[in-house]
Symmetry: C2
Subunit: 527 residues, 2 copies
């Protein structure tokens, strides 16, 4: 069923000589299928097809786009066990996670389908003409959001379904009316091809223009670089490492025509535990966080990698409890030997820094590619002075920073890099005495959580997944939730345009019945 | 009244040695006041003050921000003739224009005041908790737009009021809750200082934090470069040349923390005249366009610099009429000798290109700094082959491109760089036969106009002033209208946050009575 080839629009293609295989980290062996990397000729074909498809696809009705998105969801479900098995074989993640992530992926596709079917997302805004206005007549002006052009999506290693081939970025771009070219993630190329086949099948069934979707294999960085530099590509979505995201951002910024790159580049997700919470329930918090740090082998972008508090006996007890709890958890498999290797290197790097104490390090023997969780602790001054300690250790690892006092805690937060999330654990009314701490944390994150854990990103309209740099390249957008569609659209204004030639969204009759702002008033009425 | 000094927050300051004067282009002589360029120390002070002010100003209520914006408008009006005289002395523009632009500036400030007073612009979105949801409970998630941080604004040479010190960018940023540091335009430093004094007076009267606004003088590029590179600056607004805008964009993209730069960099604003319109009313169109090309001495970003059509007798007559009409208009003064000089150089450059015919060139003697308007014509093939012909000639100049046929016209449009506007002049139902032309034009512009002129940018919510690169650096935003506030804000999410500690916009009781989306339903009700 899997060919190892690229999808250039609706056609499979494998013109290149460079091949690669994916890896089963649990079995610690390569998978059998041979994937062929896309050539520059195939990249050119895919982009050209996308730019031709854009002419038609950018004008397709919301109802048709919704049918297409729902058909993709149906086809993905239709892949059934083939998809689940491939997912597990390429990630070392358990079947339950595969099924859960598939549900999330399908749910995302359907939520975008609902959005574009309803149609009000285009923010139709109409200011009617005032031909008799003095000193000058006023024109009729009508604005709506329109798609930006072909979008390149780089899938994430840690979300082979929900943030890859038919993941959030792809779903948002297709919903916006933008053709998508996926640079398939080499660690799960088989999962990617299966999902790509589902998208192509849905596109054909629903009569979408050829080129609305392509899927390109690659094991290195060249395919991605060529895609980002291609003049006909108009935007980029990326989820992955800081190094990768920044490299793509830089490439895009250096183009003759710079294009937006939305890169979500991870985070250490600081958690601040206030004194009363520490005193009243350090045991409970320790247990909750031992789970949050190790869930998915610590491979979530919202993994709590940094725990901050003010030194106290209760904090000392918390650290002891957290260590005990995390060592009770059986290690689990990482996504790939490269990721396991990166985890070991980064963990060792942190541990070797001055004044860092290891309080937990799972030291029983584990299978290859399984990660040994660890907790370290350090004082606030050391953390402030050593930027290495601010780096993300991707995996089941967290650093506890014991600050001397409230002022140092605030300073530490102020000096953090931008983060996806920040969490405050507090009891009773104590949060009211920490206003500056909260303001400082808010200034560094995209989402702030009260008495919870950062892991578990709800897909809903009020979610923000993004944040100040380097959590993302542009804090003005979210990567999760239907508002992520705004990354791929631009406002467009029609002045004195004949009613019958306007898009339906802006016609006097409001044939789609969408919500619009007419002369400043929100309404679904016709004009 | 004018000191020639910088405003570092509420204090005037002139620590530097580098001074400059502004120029009266109509009298062809320097104005008397000596301005002192900001030093790197003063820049540091202004940015530091802005970042401290941000802590308080970012939390100020919409009502207080509205009062501040209205107070700025009042103070600007209070400058009365001092402002009008200075404006005219520094620009060579007539008093009527000064008064008109002041009205527009004040109107913009008040429209942002209304926006933030009403308050729904923050797009409050609430998804309530579902503690009993299976398999996992759902958190309470609440999102709204919050300000991004201190913003640097570069004023435009051609809008000393409406797109400078208290212009659209400043008004939008202050409305968003962002402190503003203006890099004052050297050509109208006096006008800038007067307006800055009005803003500072308003800030003091309304009890705004010191540093919410600063105004820095500079005659060169160093002050702007230092500002854009400063780590505490979080976004940049620019209106001006392609060269300047791109340089700032590149600087911002190379920062350790890249920041968004919204640069509006001009446009040649293609106008397509379809055959029937040419045939039926070439005389009328010629007259209208002779005025549109020369209004404001051709110094509007939406000046129609390119007129496209299919060769015909009617088109030939149009060109003759346009030439006759434009030569009837008396030349007017340009903003500055540098701009006049640039106009002459660019005009001469275009005229000297192969196959370019000059059909009108005002050759009577004019005062220094007055621009002699001109019209040239060229065939479609030449225009396609020579990128020099695509360059903007800032001033009362337009190029008429005579295409061989409909196909060549479409090709020409497809090969245009991104533009602020595109205009279609058509009669009867002929527009329906030119669908591809319209789609191609839409793909290159931010605003499309039917049977009008591109000059005259209405300030209203449905306006789009921006467009594909190089019209602007990010086509996803507009620089005119209240939606321009979105350049300076980011979405922020509160998860399970205590109701009483939420911003008012997100509290259950909806104390501001704003429109919100609660569980997907748009409502002003409390929860």
């Amino acid at each position: 069923m899997i060919t190892g080839k690229n999808y250039i629009g609706n056609q499979v293609s494998a013109k290149g000589n460079k091949t690669f295989k994916t890896f089963n980290p649990e079995l610690d062996q390569e998978n059998e299928i041979i994937f062929t990397e896309a050539t520059s000729e195939e990249i050119e074909e895919a982009v050209l097809l996308a730019s031709i498809a854009f002419k038609e696809y950018s004008k397709i009705s919301g109802a048709k786009k919704a049918a297409f998105l729902n058909a993709i969801a149906d086809e993905i479900l239709g892949l059934d066990q083939d998809l689940i098995h491939m997912y597990c074989a390429e990630t070392g993640l358990p079947e339950g996670r595969a099924i859960g992530e598939r549900g999330r992926t399908v749910g995302q596709l359907r939520s975008f389908a609902n959005l574009v079917l309803e149609g009000s997302w285009v923010e139709a805004t109409i200011d009617l003409a005032q031909p008799k206005r003095e000193p000058l007549p006023k024109s009729d002006l009508r604005k709506m959001l329109i798609p930006i052009g072909p979008v390149v999506v780089f899938g994430a290693s840690n979300f082979p379904l929900a943030y890859s081939t038919a993941g959030g970025d792809t779903a948002a771009a297709l919903a916006a009316g933008c053709p998508v070219i996926v640079k398939s993630h080499p660690m799960h190329a088989g999962t990617g091809e299966l999902v790509a086949s589902a998208i192509v099948k849905a596109a054909q069934k629903m009569g979408m223009p050829n080129g609305v979707f392509s899927n390109l294999n690659s094991s290195g960085i060249e395919v991605g670089q060529l895609l980002v530099q291609h003049p006909k590509v108009k935007a980029v979505g990326f989820t992955g490492s800081f190094k990768g995201g920044r490299a793509l951002y830089d490439l895009a910024a250096k183009r003759e025509e710079p294009i937006p790159v939305f890169a979500e580049m991870g985070s250490i997700n600081p958690v601040v535990i206030l004194p009363k919470a520490l005193k009243n329930r350090h045991q409970e918090i320790a247990k909750t966080y031992a789970n949050s740090i190790t869930v998915g082998t610590g491979q979530f972008c919202t993994n709590p990698g940094l725990i901050l508090g003010i030194q106290s006996d209760a904090f000392t007890s918390f650290i002891k409890n957290l260590s005990d709890e995390i060592l009770k958890i059986h290690p689990s498999c990482m996504l790939h030997p490269t990721i396991k290797n990166g985890y070991e290197i980064n963990k060792t790097k942190i541990i070797s820094q001055k004044n860092v104490s290891v309080v937990a390090n799972f030291d029983l023997e584990v299978s290859n590619n399984f990660a040994q969780q660890a907790i370290v602790t350090v004082d606030g001054t050391t953390f402030l002075e050593n930027p290495t300690l601010h780096l993300e250790v991707f995996g089941p690892f967290s650093m506890v920073v014991q600050c001397e006092n409230k002022a140092e805690l605030e300073t530490v937060i102020t000096h953090l890099e931008g983060q996806l999330t920040g969490t405050i654990l507090a009891d009773d009314q104590e949060i009211e005495n920490y206003e500056n701490i909260i303001l400082a944390l808010q200034n560094r994150v995209g989402r702030i959580i009260f008495n919870g854990v950062p892991t578990g990103v709800e897909v809903c309209e009020s979610m923000v997944h993004g944040g100040p740099y380097p959590a993302s390249t542009d804090s003005r957008f979210t990567a999760v939730g239907v508002n992520s569609i705004k990354r791929w659209v631009r406002p467009f204004c029609y002045q004195d345009w004949p009613n019958e030639l306007l898009p339906k969204e802006l016609q006097n009759e409001n044939p789609l019945g969408i919500n619009r702002k007419v002369d400043g008033i929100s309404t679904t009425e016709k004009i």
